[in-house]
Amino acid sequence: MNCAVIQFAGSGGDGDCYHVCKNILGQPVEYIFHKETFAAQDFDLIILPGGASHGDYLRPGALAARSKVIKSVIDAANAGKYILGIGNGFQILLEAGLLPGTMLINKDLKFYSDDVFVRVENNATPFTNLYKNGEVIRLTVACKYGNYYADKKTMEQLKTQNKIVLTYCDINGNAAEASNPLGSMENIAAIANQEGNILGLMPHSERCAEEILGNTDGIRMFQSILQYVEGGKIHDCSRRS
């Protein structure tokens, strides 16, 4: 699986995503600087990392979504490549119009950094197929604008099309108010686009991928994509022969 990690101006989680692809998944990975473009066919997975692109000035992700590289990201998305936006990367996807909705400031107006439980709502995506539906996993959030908001119509669509992928919950999987620390609508932690090849998630799966860091619940997200992509390739080959 060929991976790309976009480096927006001010990205902070780019190194973390690169590390996971290269050292944990053992896959080829390249950085792409925000002033560059790339060809969709060169990559299978494109990661928009977390951090605070452009200092989160204006609105988180707003200025990064206007960088030169975004055109390539959109082309890749249209070509059916897998796009994963984590944290600030999710916000950039929202600002770029690749996913619906937006992020408001957290409900207590403060940066929030802690482990949270999320429930897998839909494992029929390239990003979650190694999880079970309804499974509760532990991930780390770290953001000030993670309070997902969408208008009524969008929310209906997300629900009817089953595009809500992860929701905040308590350890037993219940979506209580207290287990929704950022105030997200419908406890949303991650959503996918209609076609299912773009995922935006607020918690940082890339930081929960190693035993030494005390949590490996996140690595399965990357393994899911790997399996999906590699599986697809084998499938392609067999068709060609």
Binding site: A62, T102, L104, K107, G183
Partner: protein, 82 residues
């Protein structure tokens, strides 16, 4: 040269967590006559343009492409020559 003053504010029905928090604080510290506070952003933009009409056109584009997030924000602007 023209100066545009842009205000953005939460669209009707959209939550304004800052506004509610400030409102709660000011009630607590004794501002009994404050009914409601809404928060938004304010921009002053200086534009090189030949006339007001052109400046308006530029500002409309700037607001829609960059300054405003239409999912949650409405906006207004005023333009004056400076």
């Amino acid at each position: 040269m023209f100066l545009a003053r842009v205000f953005t504010f939460p669209r009707t029905g959209v939550l304004d967590p800052q506004g509610s928090a400030i409102k709660a604080t000011v009630s607590n510290i004794g501002f009994k006559d404050i009914q409601d506070i809404q928060t938004g952003k304010y921009y002053e933009v200086r534009i090189n343009a030949c006339d007001v009409a052109k400046a308006k056109e530029i500002m409309k584009e700037l607001c829609e492409k960059v300054l405003v997030n239409p999912v949650v924000e409405d906006y207004k602007f005023e333009i004056m020559e400076v």
